[in-house]
Amino acid sequence: MIAEIGQYALALAFALSLAQVILPAWGARRNDPVLMSSAGPIALALFGFIAFAFGALVQLYVTSDFTVVNVAENSHSQMPLIYKITSTWGNHEGSMLLWVFVLAFFGALVAEFGSNLPDRLKALVLAVQGAVAAAFLSFILFTSNPFARLVPAPAEGRDLNPILQDLGLAIHPPLLYLGYVGLSISFAFAIAALIEGRIDAAWARWVRPWTLAAWIFLTLGIAMGSYWAYYELGWGGWWFWDPVENASLMPWLAATALLHSAVVMEKRDALKVWTILLAILAFSLSLVGTFLVRSGVLTSVHAFATDPARGVFILAILTFFIAGGLTLFAFRASELKQGGLFAPISREGALVLNNLFLTAATAAVLVGTLYPLALEALTGDKITVGPPYFNLAFGGLMVPLVFAMPFGPLLAWKRGDLMGVAQRLMLAAALAVVAAVVIAAATTGGPVLAPLAVGLAVFIMLGALTDIAERAGLGRVTARVALARLAGVPRSGYGTAIAHFGVGVCLLGIVCETGWSLEKIASVKLGDTVTIGARSLTLDRLENRTGANFRARTAVFSIREDGAPQGTIEASRRMFAARQMATTEAGIRTFGLSQLYVSMGEESPDGHISMRATYKPFVTLIWLGAVVMALGGALSLADRRLRVGAPRPATKRPRAPVPAE
C-alpha cells in the first residue's frame, strides 16, 4: 500500500511540476501577479509530495518490504537500521529520487525565503526549476520507478553492496546532491535573467548566496567521498580520477569560477555575460555528471548501446536544458549591457585570470573524461585516459592559478599596483622559500619538486594571512587601531582569506602524501614485526568476529615507536554471506595530522597473512583543507549582505553593498 501511495505522490508531483512551469511563466508573460505568485505555493506543494514519496521509500526500506523490487534488490532484513535507511539511495532508482527531492528542496527554499526577489524574477526562477523537476520526475516515473512491485516476493533481500554499508553512504550522496543539484538554482536564475533580458548587480547579489551554498555542499561532499574511498576501498588512494569523481569535480570547478565572477558582477557590474554563461555551464556539468554516472555509458559504450532507455532519456534531458540554455544565451546575451571598466592589472583582472584557468582546468577534466568514449564511438579505437594525463593537465593548470591566488585579493579594484602587491607579499614569499629550503635539506628521497610544492603551499597560506593583516594595517598602525580594523573586516573578507588558506592546507596535504609516504608490503605470521619509519608493527593476534550481517577475520597489530607502546591497530576482512562478497577494512590510526594505514590480504594455510602498511604524513590535511575551504564559504555566506536564510519582511531590502573594499 505504501508503495502505491508513494508512486501516486510522485505522479502528482509530476503534474505539479508541470503546473510550476506553466502557470508562473504564463503569468510573467501576461504580467499577471496572481498567476506569478502561484509559483511559491506550487513549489512548496511539490516539495511536500516528493518528500512524501521519499519518506514512503525510506519506510519501505526500514520495514524491509521485499515485495518492492528496489528494496528486495538492495536491502536485507539483518542489516542495521542505519544502513536500511541509507540503502534507500544506495541504488539507481533511490538516488534519482534523492536527486529530485533535493531539487524540490531548493525550489521550496527559493519559494520560502525568496521574498526579497522581484515577483517576475521569482516566478521565472521557479518555472525553470519546475521544468528541471518535471524532466527528472518523468525520468523516474517512466524508466526508474523505485516503487515497482515484485511478484512473487522473495523471503529475503539481496543485501546492500557491502562496500556501501558504511556511514559514508549516509553523508556523502546527500551532501554531493545538495551541491550539484543546488547549482540548478544558479541555472534557473541565469535563464530567468536571459528571458527577462535584464541583469544587474542586484541579480548577482541574489545568485551568489545560492551558488555559495551549493559550492559549500559540493566541497564537503567531494571531500567526504574522497575520505570514504580512502578508508573503505583498502588501498589508501584518495583520488583516482575516476569518471564518477570527475563528474563531481567538474561542477565544483565551474561553481568555483562562478563564485568568483559573480563577485566581479556584484561589486563592479562587469563580466555579466560571462557570469550568466558560467551559471548555465555549471549546472550543465552537473547534468553531464548525472548522465555519465546514471546511463551506464562509463562501463562501456556498448553496454550503453544495448540498454539505452535510461541513457537516452537522460541524454534528451541534458540536451534540452544545455542546448536550450545556450541557445537562449546566444540570442539574448548581446542585450545585456556591459558595465564597469577595469585595467588588466586589477582585482577584476585577477578574477578573470582565475576564471580562465578554472575553465581550462574544467575543460581538461571534461575532455579527458569524454575523449576515450568519443574516440571509441567514432573510430572504434580504444585508448585510456588515466591519472597521469589528469595529473599533468590539471596540475599544470592549477599551479599557476594557486600561485596567483594570494595576489588577487590584495589588488585594488579597477586598477591595481602589481609591484606594490608583490612587495606586500614579500614576507610570505620569503618564508615560503625558507620552508622549501628547510624541507629540501631535512628530507631525503621524495620527488625533487616536492619541497618547491611545499613552498607554494606555505606561500598560499601566508598570502591569505597577509590579506587579513593588510586589511588591518598591521605594522603600519597601532595595535588598537589594527584590532578595531580587524573587527571591521566583513565576514566575506574573512571568508575569502580562510577559503584561500584552505587551498594551501589541502595542497600541503597532497604534496606530503604524494612525496613522502612510506610503504611496507610484507607477509607476516603471529609475533612478526615490520618497521615503517620510526614505528614498528607486531602481529599480536588473529581473531574471528561476527557483525550483524557479516563475519570478520581481524588482525590486531601492536604499534611501538622507539620501543614505547602506542596502542593497537586492527585491519580486517569482512565476509558478507548474503552477497558472498568480502570487503577489506583498513586499520587507520591518526598521529597528529599523519596516519598509519594498514590493510590485510590473503591468509595462507600456514598462518601467514599478507599485509600492506603505509605511513602517510600530513594526509589528513587534504580533507581538513577542504573543510577549511567550506568554512570560509560558510563565513562568507553568513555575511549580512548575503544572508539568505534569515526570513525578512518583504518590504525590507538587503543593505546596500559596502563600497568596493
Binding site: S95, N161, F240, A360
Partner: protein
C-alpha cells in the same frame, strides 16, 4: 558513493579483495622494485574500471605486474617495458595516452581553451576600453558634487 559504485562493479567479478601488490611479488632490489611500481602505476588493468595494475587485485593485474618485473630483471629499460606492453596489449594499456595526431585534441584542449580564453578576454577588454566615456559631463559633475555633499549616496539598488 560514485567511486564506490564503480568499485562495486569490480568487486562483483572478483569476490575477494586483497592488497594489489602481494609480498611475494616484491623484488629484492629496491631500486628495481620502485621502478616496477612507477611503471605499474602507468599501466591499466584492462579488465577493471579505471585502475592501474598497481592498484588492482584482479588476477590479470597480478600477471601484468609479474611481467613488468620479469622484463626489468631481464635488463629492460622503463621505455622498453612500456613498448613491450603496448606491443602486446595495444595503446589501451597506457594510462597516459601517447601524444599522437589521434590524441591531438585531448592534449591540446586545455592549452587551447586557455589561449582562446586569454584572447577573448584581451580583445573584450580592449574593445570596451576604447568605447568607454572618459569624463563626466558637466551635468553629471554637478550632480556628483551634490551627492558627495549629501554624505551618503543613494542605494545602488536603484541602478
Amino acid at each position: 558513493m560514485r567511486r564506490l559504485l564503480a568499485a562495486l562493479l569490480l568487486l562483483a567479478s572478483f569476490a575477494l579483495p586483497a592488497l594489489a601488490v602481494q609480498p611475494d611479488e616484491v623484488l629484492g632490489d629496491p631500486v628495481l622494485e620502485s621502478r616496477a611500481r612507477a611503471i605499474s602505476a602507468e599501466l591499466r588493468c584492462m579488465v577493471c574500471q579505471n585502475q592501474s595494475i598497481d592498484d588492482s587485485d584482479a588476477p590479470l593485474a597480478k600477471d601484468l605486474r609479474l611481467i613488468v618485473r620479469e622484463r626489468l630483471k631481464a635488463g629492460d629499460s622503463d621505455g622498453q617495458v612500456m613498448d613491450f606492453m603496448v606491443a602486446r596489449y595495444g595503446e589501451f594499456v597506457l594510462l597516459r595516452p601517447v601524444m599522437s595526431w589521434r590524441n591531438a585534441l585531448l592534449w591540446a584542449a586545455p592549452v587551447l581553451v586557455l589561449a582562446l580564453g586569454a584572447l577573448a578576454a584581451f580583445f573584450g577588454l580592449k574593445r570596451r576600453r576604447a568605447v568607454a566615456p572618459q569624463r563626466l559631463s558637466a551635468d553629471e559633475e554637478a550632480r556628483f558634487k551634490k551627492l558627495l555633499a549629501e554624505g551618503e549616496g543613494p542605494s545602488p539598488e536603484g541602478r
